[in-house]
C-alpha cells in the first residue's frame, strides 16, 4: 500500500460534490442496514424518519421558540465571555504583573467543568436565561482569554516602538496599536468558543431542566415515552445550527480580518 502524503488537494467543486455524496451515502447506508434488518436495535431511528421529523420540527412553533432561546442564550454568553476575555486576556498579555496575579485563579478555574456552576447560578439568580448564559460564558471565556493574551503578546514590537517614538500615551498605544493587532486572535477565540458554547448551552438546559431551549425540548421529548425520532431530529437540527454558526463566524473572520488569514491559528 502506498501513501502519497500531501497529495494534490482536490478543487472546491469536487470537495463539495464528494461531501454531499458522503452525507447522502451515509444516510442511505444507514437506511438500508436498518430496513433490511442487518442492524437492528431498540433506540435506532431510520434516517428518512428522522429527516421527516426534522422537517416537521422546523414548522413547529414550540421548537422554533426553543431554538430561538438557545441561540439568544449562546449569543448572550458568548458576548459576556468576549468582553471579559478580551479585557482580562489583554491585560494579562500587556502586563507581566497582571499575568502573574491572575495566573493561579485562571489555572484553577479553567479545568472546572463549566456546566457544574449552572445549578449554583440557578439558586442565586432563579431560573431563566441569565444563569444559562453565564454558564455558557464560563465555558467560552478561556479560548477567548488565551487568544487575547497571545494576541497582545504577539503585537509587532516595531509598531509599539514607533508609537512610543511618536509620543503616544500608553492608553493610546493600548487602544490604537495593541488592541487592533490582537482582535483577529480574539475573533479566533470567539469562533472556537462558539462550537463549545452550543454544546454547553444544550447541556446546561438538560442539567437545569426548566424546559427551555433545545435541551429542554429534548428533555421533554425523551421523558414523554418512546419519542426517540424527535430526539434524534432535534439533535440533528442542533448540529446543523452549530455548523451554520461556525460557517457564519468563519465568513465574518475572513471578511473582517483578511490580512491576518495566515497568522491566526
Amino acid at each position: 500500500m502506498t501513501v502519497k502524503l500531501g497529495a494534490d488537494p482536490l478543487n472546491t467543486r469536487d470537495r463539495v460534490l464528494l461531501g454531499c455524496l458522503g452525507l447522502v451515502g451515509t444516510a442511505f447506508l444507514g437506511e438500508v442496514l436498518l430496513r433490511t434488518g442487518v442492524v437492528s436495535a431498540v433506540g435506532l431511528a431510520l434516517p428518512s424518519v428522522v429527516l421527516a421529523e426534522a422537517g416537521g420540527l422546523l414548522a413547529d412553533d414550540g421548537f422554533l421558540e426553543a431554538v430561538g432561546f438557545t441561540v439568544r442564550e449562546l449569543a448572550l454568553g458568548l458576548g459576556m465571555a468576549t468582553v471579559v476575555g478580551t479585557l482580562l486576556g489583554g491585560l494579562m498579555g500587556a502586563s507581566r504583573t497582571a499575568s502573574v496575579m491572575f495566573e493561579l485563579p485562571v489555572e484553577i478555574l479553567r479545568p472546572l467543568p463549566s456546566i457544574a456552576v449552572g445549578p449554583v447560578l440557578v439558586l442565586l439568580l432563579g431560573s431563566g436565561m441569565l444563569p444559562n448564559a453565564i454558564t455558557v460564558s464560563v465555558a467560552c471565556l478561556w479560548p477567548i482569554l488565551f487568544n487575547a493574551m497571545y494576541g497582545v503578546q504577539a503585537v509587532d514590537k516595531t509598531a509599539v516602538q514607533t508609537a512610543k517614538t511618536l509620543r503616544l500615551s500608553p492608553w493610546t498605544i493600548a487602544t490604537r496599536v495593541k488592541l487592533p493587532a490582537a482582535l483577529p486572535f480574539v475573533f479566533t477565540g470567539v469562533r472556537v468558543s462558539a462550537s463549545i458554547g452550543l454544546i454547553v448551552a444544550v447541556s446546561v438546559e438538560l442539567l437545569i431542566g426548566s424546559g427551555a431551549g433545545i435541551g429542554g425540548f429534548i428533555l421533554l421529548a425523551s421523558t414523554s415515552g418512546s419519542n426517540l425520532d424527535v430526539v434524534y431530529a432535534a439533535t440533528l437540527i442542533g448540529g446543523i445550527l452549530g455548523v451554520l454558526i461556525s460557517l457564519v463566524l468563519g465568513g465574518l473572520e475572513r471578511l473582517a480580518f483578511p490580512w491576518k488569514a495566515g497568522l491566526a491559528q
Binding site: T2, V3, K4, L5, G6, A7, D8, L10, R15, L18, G19, G22, L23, G25, T26, V42, G43, L44, T97, V100, M101, F102, E103, L104, P105, I108, R110, P111, L112, P113, I115, A116, P119, V120, L123, L124, S195, I196, L198, I199, V202, S203, L206, L207, I214, G215, I218, S222, T223, L228, V231, Y232, T235, L236, G238, G239, I240, G242, V243, S246
Partner: protein, 258 residues
C-alpha cells in the same frame, strides 16, 4: 506574594457573599466547604489512602467512566482521523459529517444511549466517548492533511514501508494538532461525565450535584464543585505532563513555551 493577591480577594468576596442575608443561604462559606470536602472525600486512615467514603462511592466511579470514555475517544479518534486524513478523496467524503458531528449537542443523546445500551456504565461511557471523539478526530485529520508533500516524497524515494510512514512520519507530524484536540476532548469528557449521571444513576459526581441540590444540602453542592475543580486541575496537569514529554521535540524545534 503577587500570585496570592487575586485568590485572596476572590476568597474574601466568597466569604462576604456567604454571609449575605438572603443569597448567602445558597452560598456555603469557603471554610465550611473545605471542612465538608475533608469530612466526605478525605479520611485519616492510611488503609484507604486517606480517601473518604464519598471518594470511593462517587469520585472514582465518575472518574473511571470519564477516563474510559476519554480513552476510547482518543484511540478511535486518532485511528479514524489518520485514515480520513491520508486520502484526499476519503477526507472530502467525510468532512461534512465530521463538521456535523463536532457541532452535535451530544449530551442530548443521553436518553437514546439508555435505550440502546441499557442502564449500566456502558451507555454513560459511550456517550462520553461519542461526544469527545470529534475534536480528536477533526484535529488528527487536519494534522495529517497538513503534513506537506516533502516528507511524503522522501518516504517514497526511500521506499519506507507503510507502517513506518505511519508511526515515524504521520503520527509525530500530526501530534501537535492531535494534542490540541485531546485537550478539548478532556474538558468535554468532564462535562459529559456530569451530564451522563443525571438520569438512571445511583453514584457519581453528577448524581451528587443533583442530589445535594434537591435535598437543599448547599454545603454538599459546593463541596462537589470544589472536588470537580481539583479533579479538573489534576487531569489537566497530567495531560500537560504527557504532552510535554511526547512533544518535547516539537516544543524545542518551535521554541514554544506553554
Amino acid at each position: 506574594m503577587l500570585r496570592l493577591v487575586v485568590p485572596a480577594v476572590l476568597g474574601a468576596i466568597w466569604q462576604w457573599a456567604s454571609q449575605l442575608e438572603t443569597k448567602g443561604l445558597f452560598i456555603a462559606a469557603p471554610l465550611d466547604v473545605m471542612r465538608r470536602v475533608g469530612a466526605d472525600y478525605l479520611s485519616a486512615s492510611p488503609g484507604s489512602f486517606f480517601l473518604g467514603q464519598s471518594t470511593f462511592d462517587h469520585v472514582l466511579p465518575s472518574l473511571s467512566r470519564a477516563l474510559m470514555g476519554f480513552a476510547l475517544a482518543v484511540v478511535f479518534g486518532v485511528m479514524i482521523g489518520v485514515v480520513l486524513g491520508l486520502w484526499p478523496v476519503v477526507s472530502a467524503l467525510f468532512t461534512p459529517i465530521v463538521h456535523l458531528g463536532r457541532s452535535l449537542p451530544t449530551p442530548a443523546l443521553l436518553g437514546v444511549m439508555f435505550f440502546l445500551f441499557g442502564t449500566g456504565d456502558l451507555p454513560k461511557v459511550l456517550l462520553i466517548a461519542f461526544g469527545a471523539i470529534w475534536p480528536v478526530l477533526f484535529n488528527t485529520m487536519d494534522g495529517t492533511q497538513s503534513l506537506g508533500t516533502e516528507r511524503g516524497r522522501v518516504a517514497q524515494i526511500f521506499r519506507i514501508p507503510f507502517h513506518a510512514v505511519l508511526t515515524r512520519i504521520v503520527l509525530p507530524g500530526a501530534a501537535p494538532k492531535i494534542f490540541v484536540g485531546i485537550r478539548t476532548a478532556l474538558s468535554l469528557s468532564l462535562i459529559l461525565m456530569i451530564i451522563s449521571e443525571l438520569q438512571k444513576s445511583l453514584n457519581g459526581l453528577g448524581y451528587t450535584l443533583n442530589a445535594t441540590q434537591r435535598s437543599f444540602d448547599y454545603e454538599g453542592l459546593w463541596a462537589v464543585l470544589a472536588v470537580l475543580a481539583v479533579l479538573g486541575v489534576a487531569l489537566n496537569f497530567a495531560l500537560v505532563r504527557i504532552e510535554r514529554r511526547v512533544l518535547a521535540w516539537h516544543l524545542g524545534a518551535t521554541g514554544q513555551h506553554d
